[in-house]
């Protein structure tokens, strides 16, 4: 039997050590790669979440601004109505103090009011569904 030189043992041990070191290094690199991929996925998820939150905040802001605009519209209508009402109340007071205020209305006016009253009391004249189409413009003021 041919004796194996001692250097071969040394070379074999070195080769084994190199293989083990290579395996450990390779495993570490693999781990690092997997970790990097995981971190990247998490980063993407966080970025998406941030985008979603930003979008939701923006939508909530727009919704609030629209609601504020609606409140302003309601207030402007109420204020306008109050102004008109106070003006009309003043005019009515003036009319009530005129000498012929309590005289019977002329026949033509009384007839017109009576016809309107009858029309309001009926059910067929109102056209609440709008079947007759758009209303004509208001008559010119006398």
């Amino acid at each position: 039997m041919i004796p194996i030189p001692i250097t071969w043992y040394a070379i074999g041990a070195l080769a084994l050590a190199l293989g083990a070191a290579g395996y450990v290094a390779y495993d570490a690199i693999e781990d690092k790669g997997r970790l990097a991929a995981t971190i990247e996925a998490k980063d993407k998820a966080i970025a998406k979440l941030a985008d979603d939150l930003k979008r939701q905040e923006r939508e909530a802001k727009v919704r609030q601004e629209i609601a504020d605009a609606a409140d302003r519209a309601v207030v402007s209508v109420d204020v306008g109505r109050d102004v008109i009402r106070s003006r009309v109340v003043t005019i009515i007071r003036e009319i009530r103090s005129t000498p012929d205020a309590n005289d019977p209305a002329p026949d033509s006016l009384a007839l017109a009011l009576e016809r309107v009253r009858q029309s309001d009391a009926g059910t067929g004249d109102r056209d609440e569904g709008g079947a007759a189409g758009a209303a004509p413009g208001p008559p010119a003021r006398p």
Binding site: R55, R58, E59, V62, R63, E65, I66, A67, A69, A70, D71, A73, V74, S76, V77, D78, G80, R81, I84, R85, V88, I91, I92, I95, R96, T98, D100, A101, N102, D103, P104, A105, L109, A110, L113, E114, V116, R117, D120, P138
Partner: protein, 67 residues
């Protein structure tokens, strides 16, 4: 562009106020004049309501379309 689902206008803008009722006979000059004025007030109020609703719709559209 921010998309927000359409919002309904507030009920206060949609509710049509009650039209003044026609005075019952016997009608005096003052009754007739008051009815006319109340009708005028009602009409102006309605006009303001329609204008405000239209303005609100335009503003809501602008806000929704804003980048």
């Amino acid at each position: 562009m921010t998309r927000v689902e359409p919002l309904a206008p507030p009920q206060a803008l949609l509710r049509v106020p009650e039209r003044p009722s026609v005075p019952s006979p016997p009608v005096t000059n003052a009754d007739a004049a008051e009815y006319l004025l109340r009708l005028y007030e009602w009409g102006l109020g309605l006009e303001a309501q329609i204008r405000a609703t239209g303005k609100w719709v335009d503003e809501a559209k602008r806000l929704r379309a804003a980048p």
